[in-house]
């Protein structure tokens, strides 16, 4: 990595802090509501930068267990195999893949989501 600190994640943190401390107070209620969406979006981006590569690799490994012949395992390929009826819905590796991949997605998109919290407890 050739870039100096602050890292990309640290830069986004600085933006979130600025929005939360200096901007939030200045806004009327309907824009304060939008600002919450903005800071949430920035936190998604942070988590994706932080965790995204590893989670995507984990997903590829899970997909390889379901579709043995695949060269480049992807969600697209897994989705189309299910669609074409090439996989039995009861197959254990499919079950594991769907659970694992979905948890990974939500851990980036919204780790506060009730079902995610329930399933990781």
């Amino acid at each position: 990595m050739i870039f100096d600190r602050p890292t990309n994640i640290e830069l986004i943190s600085a933006v979130i802090d600025f929005l939360d401390t200096e901007i939030k107070e200045e806004l009327p209620p309907h824009l304060a509501f939008k600002l919450r969406i903005v800071t949430n979006v920035l936190k998604i981006v942070q988590r994706e930068i932080d965790l995204g590569d590893n989670l995507s690799k984990d997903a590829e490994d899970l997909i390889k267990e379901v579709i043995e012949s695949t060269q480049e395992p992807s969600l697209i390929e897994l989705a189309s195999s299910i669609k074409e009826g090439n996989i039995d819905l009861d197959k254990e590796s499919l079950r594991k893949a769907l659970i694992g991949i979905t948890k990974s997605k939500v851990s980036v998109d919204n780790p506060n989501y009730s079902t995610f919290k329930k399933l990781v407890e």
């Binding site: 969406i37 897994l78 989705a79 669609k83 979905t102 997605k105 998109d109 919204n110 079902t115």
Partner: protein, 327 residues
């Protein structure tokens, strides 16, 4: 703008023989595709609170015409469903556009407030039973005057949803799994009924005694009635109170008891769960639709962009329901 609208409203109302001056006309926050205004209609003897609702012409492809919502409200009111009384319907392209005026009903719509504020504590234990009764009354409404509504069998609904999902070309293994599962289910032999289509906190009015009104009929259609019950039980509409299966406030037994006490059709929790999976898939596809309205450039909006990352919430709910025994 306000003054023009005020003049139009006053003229249209007096054509119906309703006279009075329009006062305190103010926009209310609401859905992005519809305008909602409140005002007082004041004459020498009284002042009545009214609501004006108008379609923008840019409604979602799933929605019915705004003026048709008013026709449904008139029909269900006859069956004792708590809905605002309709005062005026306009379906012309000029003047008031596609719109209607209804009487104001007291009550809170914001889910967060209903679930957390002290003054609704007494209402929450009653609400699931009341919702069950109200939904059953909606489903008992005669369809004779509602033939303009789209009619969809469960399989058609599933196929429509799948086509919409497919059109965005963002494949989801979980949605593919749900689609295959949904196609294999038994939806029972129910008579076609009026379906509200979006019955949940946000679209119902609540005061300290419970349910006072049902609004937002834009997703209404004719079909299998149980979908209204499954929709409200989806985790997407529990607003974080996931242990309370019915809308984040109630238990499924109370909803079923309320429903079965009024309805001609008797239902059970298993049927509701099947429709809960459908409803969760449906909300997921609606999230996709909103996100792609932003991505395709038709609406540039941070809210719509953000909602694209809520699709995974519906995926994890489907995984929980179908693979992990969740409720």
């Amino acid at each position: 703008m306000n003054e023009d609208l005020s003049i139009l409203l006053s003229a249209s109302l007096s054509k119906k023989g309703i006279n009075g001056s329009i006062e305190n006309l103010e926009p209310l926050t609401g859905g992005a595709s519809k305008e909602t205004w409140k005002f007082n209609l004041v004459n020498s003897s009284e002042s009545s609170r009214m609501i004006f609702r108008r379609g923008s012409g840019a409604e979602s492809s799933l929605a019915i015409r705004t003026s048709d919502e008013a026709k449904i409200q008139e029909e269900v009111l006859k069956k004792g469903v708590p809905v605002p009384e309709i005062v005026l319907v306009s379906n012309s392209n000029n003047d008031l556009g596609n719109s209607y005026v209804m009487k104001f009903i007291e009550g809170e719509t914001i889910a967060r407030k209903i679930l957390r504020d002290e003054c609704y504590k007494s209402a929450l234990p009653l609400l699931a039973h009341q919702c069950g009764e109200a939904i059953a009354k909606i489903h008992n409404t005669p369809l004779k005057n509602l033939q303009f509504l789209p009619k969809k069998s469960p399989i058609q609904l599933i196929e429509d949803l799948y086509l919409l999902y497919e059109s965005y070309k963002q494949p989801s293994p979980v949605f593919e799994y749900a689609y295959r599962w949904l196609k294999e289910q038994n939806y029972g032999n129910f008579e076609d009924s009026l379906v509200h289509g979006d019955f949940r906190l946000g679209n119902i009015l609540v005061n300290e005694n419970g349910l006072t009104g049902i609004i937002d009929w834009e997703l209404a259609h004719i079909g299998n009635p149980i979908q209204d019950l499954g929709w409200m039980c989806g985790n997407s509409w529990r607003f974080g109170n996931s242990k309370k299966v019915v809308g984040g406030f109630g238990d499924i037994e109370d909803l079923i008891k309320g429903y079965n006490g009024i309805s001609n059709e008797k239902i059970n929790a298993e049927l509701i769960k099947t429709w809960q999976v459908f409803g969760t898939f449906r909300w997921g596809v609606i999230c996709l639709m909103q996100a792609y309205a932003h991505l395709n450039g038709s609406i540039n909006s941070i809210e719509k962009a953000a909602i694209g990352r809520r699709v995974s919430e519906t995926e994890i709910d489907i995984v929980d329901l179908l693979l992990l025994g969740g409720d």
